[in-house]
């Protein structure tokens, strides 16, 4: 029996090795490949679409390499796909960042700026980026197996997902207001936080992803 393969899509943006090493750590039996080869991605059993930095640069690189099309194909093929951080945002329809950018459009909704005058319920100013460990309330999807409600995950972002379909929201987080910390649509799952940097709980989510059959 050949071992399962997992492709971490490399489109030249930042550090993808953290995601890859966290996946190898939780699932040493699978072959994790950081790759920009379309054939390798197409052959993989699972796909992780990470992302850091500004969405404008990300989408430029994604389009140049034809990965928008490739990602749509992977999702349509029914294989488990996980978007992380800017990788999640890139799956929405459009982002306000970088003066407005059309994204891949696999999940309905917009990516919006937290704003310069974000406050908490008591009216105190909140810093942007939203950086650090915040509580996540989830919907019990298989990717949350073994993860308690209100577990803290590591976030770092200035833009948030405003989901258009409430039933696709797999988790929420509060920072100034409630936003989608995770989205789901069949075999597609996406998280705003960094599971690869979220210690035990983040590793558990990655372990769940590797074990997931793509059914909600």
């Amino acid at each position: 029996m050949t071992s399962q393969t997992l492709a971490v899509i490399d489109y030249g943006m930042g550090n993808l090795h953290s995601v890859a090493s966290a996946l190898s750590h939780v699932a040493p039996e699978i072959e994790v490949q950081v790759t920009s080869e379309p054939e390798v991605i197409a052959r993989a059993d699972r796909v992780v679409f990470p992302g850091v930095g500004a969405i404008g640069e990300c989408m430029k690189a994604v389009r140049k390499l034809g990965f928008d099309h490739l990602l749509r194909q992977q999702v349509a093929a029914g294989k488990p796909v996980l978007g992380v951080c800017v990788g999640m945002q890139a799956l929405l329809q459009r982002s306000e960042e970088s003066a407005g950018v059309d994204c891949i459009g696999q999940l309905p909704g917009q990516v919006r700026f937290f704003g310069r005058s974000l406050t908490d319920t008591a009216g105190r100013a909140l810093k942007v980026p939203h950086m650090g460990w915040n509580k996540v309330r989830h919907n019990g999807h298989p990717l949350w197996a073994g993860i308690e409600q209100d577990t803290r995950f590591y976030f770092v972002h200035s833009y948030y997902v405003d989901a258009a379909e409430p039933e696709q929201v797999a988790a929420t987080c509060d920072y100034g207001h409630t936003f989608a910390a995770a989205l789901q649509r069949n075999n597609l799952f996406a998280v705003q936080f960094h599971p690869e940097k979220s210690h035990t709980a983040g590793l558990q989510l990655l372990r769940n992803f590797v074990a997931w059959n793509g059914q909600a």
């Binding site: 953290s18 500004a54 810093k127 939203h130 650090g132 803290r152 960094h194 940097k197 210690h199 983040g202």
Partner: protein, 256 residues
Amino acid sequence: MALAKRIIPCLDVDNGRVVKGVNFVDIRDAGDPVEIAKRYDTAGADEITFLDITASHEGRDTTVHMVEKIAAEVFIPLTVGGGIRKVEDIRTMLNAGADKVGINSAAVSNPDFVKAAADRFGSQCIVVAIDAKQVNTPGETPRWEIFTHGGRKGTGIDAIDWAKRMTEYGAGEILLTSMDRDGTKNGFDLALTRAISDAVSVPVIASGGVGNLQHLVDGITEGGADAVLAASIFHFGEYTIPQAKAYMRERGIEVR
């Protein structure tokens, strides 16, 4: 408000070894950064900052390998600072597994470097490290200036103006060290921390002077910091990360 305040142990690393070594409770560590980072990770540290104080080129390569090893085994954010002068240095550290880089002297000598770095890699990974010293005479309104070269070289730049400018240039976070307090164990410069924290919209990490757990609390409640950085109180086993968190939690601070 549910975002936790962060506790960040800092490792000063020279040629691949943590300087002075680290003495955890009952465990004397010879100073291997990977082992030490793993222990802080297990203990519940929210991030780790790795400050490279190596001067030589060969030492730099050692640092890159260390960062790679830490990143392969530690699954919390890692910031690497010290000697980051070019876009290429940032790329090297991010590729090695750092999540953020700290820029200090290079920002002072070439502020546009911060802009270029943020445009290229995103603000989320650009930490501008500010070393500030109080320069007013007693009785005057407090004023702080930026110092470089480990606090030896004054620049005449006002610390508050500088923090604002660096944020405008794309810094995603400010690591603020009081050169007056660093190493004293007398606590953070709270007036400085408050002034900078109120002046900028990005998170501020307070650094320099922690001698006990109340100092960590003060940095957050009085200084307005989003995170607190400390080295010696954790390195020498005076306090553990769980003790620090319990103490902060008892005083109403949200911690992870």
